[in-house]
Symmetry: C2
Subunit: 255 residues, 2 copies
């Protein structure tokens, strides 16, 4: 009997973040040959997935939650039973709840992993003494207070960047047409330097750990600590949650 | 009208080679936002894809061609119309022809790109003066003379490693349980050094260019030249062929 469930990844938001999640799934799996790896479907359909931050800043646009549900259903039709989307902004309740409602309405049976909830749970387990958690994110995630709302429920305090630093240093490192990670498909020197400045800014404001709260950010800051401050990677946490849900015996122990 | 076809990738042979192809597809696409990328489906189902080299060395085993056809049909059912598999050994006619016959019998309409034929065509176009082409590969590909047979038809001469170097340096860099790329999921220092020794060995034997003829090898030798000798990457060539077939207007020009 095959006890393993097929993992589905909505991988187009954006494609390089999708690749990063897929890579982390295979890296975190106990396997010494190709055949010992889990079954994974990566659906890169960015052309049909409206920008999440653009929607949050301008709700007159189409809600990406419908496209997320449609792509989850595509993955389900292709055999996936546990699904994740490596995009923090997509987890804003204004998007994510619409996707979940749509899936319920269509009678979907998939388990949709909530990356933000997994990230908070991971912080509580791995760093139980920390109370002040910094957040680097897109301006969409920043405006809707996605992480602050989740952290408050966990009795943790969110440390967010000042408005000007949020836009000029952090959001632009992700979205700028010349040096941004989405446009170039890689972490340019400027994107990395600006994100590290944002990280230091949060530490100056009292952050004891910093969530890399946009899945393009770990491409620029792959380190697990910056100075002595933990850099929390939601993509890695989502990868581990997907493996644990698909087949817990295949999950590598934490270092 | 959407002029773009969806690309399907049989990505589990092995998964890190599959990721490398997907990455190269996105890197070679003209896009400055997520939404401008092509639609791509990556199917990682290594558990159902028997090892190709093991079959070529022991034909009593199950022919992986049937699993390749089944996975191509899965991708087709999910919407893909142009498909590739980033595994050189899978292109041995004893495997690939079985997959193609099976697809024809099932009435499949997909375009299945032949990575080896594309690689030979690329050498003829990019390096028209070269005559002696070295080949680094698995022992399966080596034994069945996959590249030598294709090169002969193109009036090019194949330079292959001596038997002992093939097995101890090259094949083991891919398959060794301790330091091999398939077992570790990355290019270990020893795998890279041994493959570079194999590369130099081929140059000593007269190779004017060397095909990195197993899709794990470009993970260890990402350079486009070693010394002054071109390192030909079939994964990159396959990525470009898939884009060209899906939507030629999205293909980045060669450097």
């Amino acid at each position: 009997v095959n006890q393993t469930r097929t993992i589905g990844v909505i991988a187009g938001a954006g494609p390089f973040a999708g690749l990063d999640l897929l890579k982390k799934i295979f890296e975190q799996t106990i396997a010494s040959s190709d055949q010992e790896h889990l079954d994974v479907l990566g659906l890169f359909r960015s052309s049909k997935l409206p920008d999440r931050t653009a929607y949050l800043l301008n709700p007159g646009l189409e809600n990406p939650g419908y496209a997320i549900a449609a792509q989850a259903l595509e993955l389900e039709a292709a055999g996936a039973t546990v699904v994740g989307i490596p995009c923090n902004t997509a987890h804003s309740p204004r998007i994510f709840d619409v996707a979940l409602a749509e899936l319920q309405e269509r009678g979907s049976g998939i388990t949709f992993i909530n990356m933000i909830a997994e990230t908070i749970a991971s912080i509580q387990q791995q760093h139980p003494r920390l109370r002040h958690i910094g957040i680097l994110s897109t301006t969409g995630t920043y405006r809707v207070k996605l992480y602050p709302n989740y952290l408050r429920e966990a009795h943790l305090e969110a440390i967010v960047p000042d408005e000007d630093i949020q836009q000029t240093l952090i959001h632009n490192a992700i979205y700028d047409a010349i040096y941004g990670i989405k446009a170039t498909g890689r972490a340019t020197q400027k994107a990395r330097q600006d994100l590290l400045k944002g990280f230091e800014h949060l530490v100056d404001k009292g952050a004891e750990a910093v969530i890399l709260g946009c899945t393009e950010i770990p491409l620029a800051i792959p380190e697990s600590t910056v100075g002595s401050i933990p850099a929390i990677d939601p993509t890695l946490i989502l990868a581990r949650a997907l493996i644990r849900t698909a087949n817990p015996t295949k999950l590598k122990p934490l270092p």
